[in-house]
Symmetry: C2
Subunit: 208 residues, 2 copies
DNA sequence: ACCGTTATTGTCCAGTTGGACAATATTGGA
DNA sequence: TCCAATATTGTCCAACTGGACAATAACGGT
């Protein structure tokens, strides 16, 4: 029998394995058996921790994004507003976004996942709005409606991520240029400032 | 035995059924048996027309989008450039976009689908670029780089579609306002022109 | 009237799936 | 030390999957 673990430890192990499989093969092809094999346990055990397959993938998505956004928020807090904008919009690692895209397509048929998705999307808009407010307060940007800016720029970043990761329409460099330009235009920031502030320091690992 | 049909007729019937199932349950849950039941034939017959499941869904996506874009392009050609921009960016019916989103998430694991997706995405960018060029030629818009505009605005529309359809972050009206504003700003069109040009006439049906 | 072509069916298969459950091993506390 | 709680296993199941295939029915041309 496999080593006996504490409840929380095992739970996180299962979630980590689920995320690794999602990154490789997508939400739709997560099977309890694959997850169990990856962890090294019997597949029946997963039902001891999660009510069913849908709840498992929803919990995995929620866990990953919660951790990632907390880490990102901490990172941004340590940067000046312009650098924070550059960091936030720099192209995210491919693994990351493929999971989001998969979640979008699964959400209409998985209520728990849809709820997590909506919650975290609003988190993203809030985090960006906060950075924009800091930039405005610092006199580095100006705008009439921060929330509208945040919503529009978040949508743009999502769309570019699709072009970059789901299709091979643009590479990371081009995507950054496009979104940086749009941010500068929208927030009346001097063109080139974001690129000058440097591309992103690595955003956190979350595959566990 | 079911009524005997011509090869092409049956083929289109199968594709239509596939699309209806995709719209209901997503690409990943298309099964040969469901498709066969929807058409009213034996599931073995599908293999007479398509090499396998992946080829079936890729062919269905390709067929649908090809028809839709041709019809859209014809519609746009009959409108003045500003009205054409308004029509192109008006929120697309939900069925439509859920299929695109599903395709994005399936593409990394279905090469035939990925090829169709990339091709049609470029079609979209080209169609929009043509409309922008008409607007510029008519003196109704100005820009430095039509292709960059087209790419950026297409990405924005995709991202907003995700917010509208995969999540319930914005409704169709808000999404239109956001994208209209972005188009006007980017192309130096007088604010409000697009909304004034009227929201879209219905874009074509494509579920057969 | 014949025949080759092909559209169509029904049936079989081996593999995989999520879930249920009884049996067992291990723990932590009284 | 004993017991209750719970972590863990292994096994079973009914449902469903894509695919293979031989048998058959309907067609179009000659």
């Amino acid at each position: 029998m496999a080593e006996r673990k504490s409840s929380e430890e095992r739970r996180e192990q299962i979630i980590g394995a689920t995320l690794r499989i999602v990154a490789r093969k997508g939400f739709a092809s997560v099977t309890l058996r694959d997850v169990a094999t990856e962890v090294g346990i019997a597949h029946g055990l997963i039902r001891h921790y999660f009510a069913g397959r849908d709840e498992l993938v929803a919990a995995a998505f929620d866990h990953a994004v919660t951790a990632e956004l907390a880490s990102d928020e901490q990172l941004l807090a340590g940067l000046d507003p312009i650098a924070a904008l550059a960091a936030w919009f720099s192209t995210t690692p491919e693994d990351h976004y493929l999971v989001w895209i998969d979640a979008w397509s699964e959400a209409p048929r998985n209520p728990a996942l849809a709820a997590a998705l909506e919650r975290h999307h609003r988190d993203c808009e809030r985090i960006l709005a906060d950075v924009i407010r800091r930039a405005v307060a610092a006199g580095a940007a100006s705008t009439a409606d921060v929330d509208a800016d945040s919503r529009m720029l978040t949508a743009l970043a999502d769309g570019l991520a699709v072009q970059a990761h789901a299709m091979s329409i643009v590479d990371a460099r081009e995507a950054d240029d496009i979104v940086f330009g749009a941010v500068e235009a929208r927030l009346a920031i001097a063109p080139g400032s974001l690129a000058a502030a440097g591309r992103a320091p690595a955003r956190g690992q979350w595959l566990g």
